[in-house]
């Protein structure tokens, strides 16, 4: 096991805390929805396991994982964009 990955993990924990520490509550909903889309990166995990799936069961479950992950990532980014495009300043 590469300890570099753990190192990256620990740093990412602190970066995650730091970047949103000043977010105003008016943006909590889009922020939650946006970070929700980012963990849609699990689609890649689905692609990787499905690419290597050797049994029909693994293929079926991998297929479901890809659908779920894809809905998460695409839906997440789209719905966040739909919310944020409405935020306008007074003209």
């Amino acid at each position: 096991m590469d300890t570099n990955v753990l190192f990256i993990f620990i740093l990412a924990v602190f970066v995650g805390f730091e970047v949103i520490s000043k977010v105003p509550s008016m943006l909590h909903t889009p922020l939650m929805s946006g970070t929700n889309a980012i963990h849609g990166i699990i689609l890649f995990g689905g692609i990787l396991v499905l690419a290597d799936a050797a049994t029909p069961l693994a293929q079926a479950l991998g297929f479901v994982a890809v659908i779920f992950g894809s809905a998460n990532v695409f839906g997440g980014f789209m719905v966040t964009d739909r919310m944020l495009q409405m935020f306008k300043k007074k003209k």
């Binding site: 096991m1 990955v5 990256i8 990412a12 924990v13 970066v15 995650g16 805390f17 970047v19 949103i20 520490s21 977010v23 509550s25 008016m26 943006l27 909590h28 909903t29 889009p30 922020l31 939650m32 929805s33 946006g34 970070t35 929700n36 889309a37 980012i38 963990h39 849609g40 990166i41 699990i42 689609l43 890649f44 995990g45 692609i47 990787l48 396991v49 499905l50 690419a51 293929q59 479950l61 991998g62 479901v64 994982a65 890809v66 659908i67 779920f68 992950g69 998460n72 839906g75 980014f77 789209m78 719905v79 964009d81 739909r82 919310m83 944020l84 495009q85 935020f87 300043k89 003209k91």
Partner: protein, 471 residues
Amino acid sequence: MSSTIAFIIIGVSVLFILGIKFLSSPKTARTGNLVAAAGMLIALGVLLKTDGTSVWAHGWSFNYTLIVIGTLIGLIIGAIGAYSVKMTSMPQMVALFNGLGGGAAALVASLEFQRGAHSLEGITAFIAGSMLFATLIGSLSFSGSIIAYLKLEGKFEKPMTFPGQNILNGLILLVILGLCGFLTFNASGGNATTAFIVMFSLALFFGVAMVMPIGGADMPVVISLLNSFTGLAVAADGFAINNLAMVVAGTLVGSSGTLLTLLMCKAMNRPVTNVLFGAFGSSGAAQTGAAGVVGTVKPIQADEVALLLAYAQRVVVVPGYGMAVAQAQHSVRELTEELGKRGVEVQFAIHPVAGRMPGHMNVLLAEANVPYDQLVEMEAINPSMDRVDVCLVIGANDVVNPAAREDKSSPIYGMPIIDADHCKTTIVMKRSMAAGFAGIENHLFYKDNTRMLFGDAKASLNALVAAVKAS
């Protein structure tokens, strides 16, 4: 991993961090979301298998056809969901997408675990541990999110509690952890597959058991927490399949989601343990009586309200979820524009938990073209509330209840509120005298300077617009 790909992954990580950073300011938020999406697309292009070869460099097989079909199906489901959902139902949508992500994380971890355990080289305890973690957290996030979705949709909204529930849940969790411990060191043993299936099912059940006792009003906190859980599950998956982009993205979501959860609890002035294990609404529902309430309810007519508004200097609107349910956002905007034309200073006072999720009200008002600089947060507006001529409370209830300040026995005692009762005149627009989402009597309705404008919010507002125009 070649150094070119390593550099690309570093770039992708920077894009994710910048994306979240930009999301925390209204001016840059939309760009932030697109930046993160761009990072995702780039990371897909350089997706590597565990052996370090590009996933796209292998010969085409049936599995790749499945990948394309699956991705397209997901894309269509996601797009339909994203573009058809009503803004009022946004929390449900986030819950659903989050649940899907959690389910995917659990499936990926399960498949990798089974494959690794039965491969020639086996898996190390560390890899097995992170896959089991991802399976556990991912599946409870899946089932928990579905329950949160159903609760927000109004199905079994009330908390479901029974004596000894926390102990029973604790026991289930212990069994799950025991099974995980066993599997970490016996990944390919005789009973491993059975133990794994039992663990998976218990984790799914635990997600349900964890969310069932929590009231509908607290679902946003639950969704935020499950969102960070899914992030952590994705990061653990990233460990297991050696994908750095997944580790970074998952961890960022995990930690920022945890902080967001704590910020939300802080806005409600309740410790997170109280939300998760306190079974809120159940204690509140017991005391809906008007204990300690003095005064009478004084109704008012729309014409009279219109006069008050038209000749006021400063008006503050306190919107609540009830306004959104009545689809009255556009009428509110029309009214504020009409008042603006007459030189009345109009602001919206936004409670951190107005709507069903922090920031939800901002989204709903933005949808109705209310500029965001007209929205003022609770802390910013409270000190000047005593200089407000008319405060218009539309469909908000618990967030303006002075019981939070005055009544120590109230379940919401200590929650920060918008001081609507400090204004010269407070107009509460309400359908009837029913109690709010949390089932708590509102002392504001009985104050001397409060007047009640009964009726459907949208109809009342339209009447107000017409009356203001005429006056």
